[in-house]
Symmetry: C2
Subunit: 350 residues, 2 copies
Amino acid sequence: MQRPRRPTLRDVAKRAEVSPTTASFVLTGRDDMRISEEARHRVLRAAAELSYRPNLTARSLRTKITRTIALVSDTIATEHYAGGLIHGSLAAAVKHQHLLFVSESEGDPDVEARLIEDLLGRQVDGFVYASMYTRQVKVPRALKGHPLVLLNCTARDAGVPAVLPDETGAGRTAARALLDRGHRNGIYVVGEMPADVFAARERRAGIQEALSAAGTGLAGVVDCVWWPEGAYDAVSRFLRSGPRPAALICLNDRVAFGAYQALSEAGIAIPDDVSVVSFDDSDLASWLRPQLTSVALPHHELGRRAVELLLAGDPAQPATEIERVPMPLRERLSVGPPRKPARAPVERTA
Amino acid sequence: MQRPRRPTLRDVAKRAEVSPTTASFVLTGRDDMRISEEARHRVLRAAAELSYRPNLTARSLRTKITRTIALVSDTIATEHYAGGLIHGSLAAAVKHQHLLFVSESEGDPDVEARLIEDLLGRQVDGFVYASMYTRQVKVPRALKGHPLVLLNCTARDAGVPAVLPDETGAGRTAARALLDRGHRNGIYVVGEMPADVFAARERRAGIQEALSAAGTGLAGVVDCVWWPEGAYDAVSRFLRSGPRPAALICLNDRVAFGAYQALSEAGIAIPDDVSVVSFDDSDLASWLRPQLTSVALPHHELGRRAVELLLAGDPAQPATEIERVPMPLRERLSVGPPRKPARAPVERTA
């Protein structure tokens, strides 16, 4: 690819009628050489007239700081909900005058190794290593010893700082949203909870903790994958066969979407007959009718915090701790008080 | 930030007991210097043992090619549906051994100018300039003369190649999905169509073209913003007051989502009573019940084509043309034949 010839420092010096060294000292703001105000002015004018821009590639060779960082992920760009992670990372990078490489391995270790090699070859100042789903990862060998923050994942290795959503807190929050409206009985979780899925395990722990503290517990679990169709099928079956629930805690908004469809077909009104609370606060939450109360996954904040931590990193005092980003409740219209048990009509005496 | 001392070419040469020049020739694969097989082997082994990686920053100063490209956009990373644009761009960049800077101006011209300056300072090889919504843009001055492909936007400037979805073709495709099942009458568009919105204008043109070719036309337009709530309100009002439609062409899946809610509340069955076809093929399309037939916005392919075009760019023969990426129909369950008009029951003669 061709491009216009780029004006060099030498061109600026020539136009300003000074030596390249003088021009360089003026343009990099160094004051350890005596330069007349008049010469300084000529250099700045020449630089402006030529649209000169300093060659940061050359400068980074001298300073060994490139002011670039890299976000290395499995498939983060593919996941709709994760746009916020990139967006938050970008915002923090721009704030600190850094540029961001975004790269994706699609889970292929060979691709990942090659990407990391390439990024190291370009001497990025640091890495955010991100996972789409919260999980424990093995930090790629090539990253060891480089400034690194894990995003949405943890590592066995000691001393690698990580930024994660506070899933246990989110579980407590969801349960409290129901408890606060008076729910104590008939509370079901919808969604499978395999022990190796962080979000499932921690949300469940938080839910049970809050219910226990209120002297109650879960009435049961409606087991299904975390997608609308599976949730629709499972909740439909449950409504046909099981006891009428008072409240559903759906493990994400897609599950809630399927639950809404099943409840609607069964003629059960939200929140009059059944309350629904969920996790994620994706767009879906505000599109459903009634709008869905959901505990937000703060993607933007997660990305922002990871980059902030990376750029503030002090290698003499590594942040070994895991930073938990709070997941706030977005209250909408899907939670109400429990339905009063139907009573036999009281006959009036005339 | 601190990092482990990086092994240099000199370290490799020393360990291999050859001159730095010899080591450099071996490691860059040059064959214009006679080097014994034994020395070559020593150099490669030393490089592996030291985890030596060539300094691409230094190399790019010599070759003037950095093998980096930049995606500059307004707010693409924020938009859920646009993850595919980044993903497709990444895939093509990786295929061609390039790394990708992703940057976002959030529509602020000052931020945009600073980002472009920074990227030019790092000597990226080329730019993809992307817009979240298809529109005409003014190419930033700083980008002129640099390898550039526009993504999801066009410019007045001649000679700037652009990659856009084929919205007119998509309009024809949506209309034909109905025509093919026998629809001729009672076909309504749902969604506002301001003349300055590319997608609206071109989809409408394509719809009308296909209907005209079949000797028919639109029965009307249900005007609403392209979001579920607005569509729900508008379609609900329309169903209460207007004639019963035979088919709805919703201008995106979010509009279809709102239309589904309104139809469901009115007790109108899809597709038995009313057929629905839409645009975007977002996740929603397969989550709705019945699953929604939708004309896909090929985000991944758009990103991929833009980067391919950029990296294949021949400055001697600029691609002045706009490349239109086809929008394929994803047939699901929301389109059926038109409902037969109800007949008076025929009395049987005994």
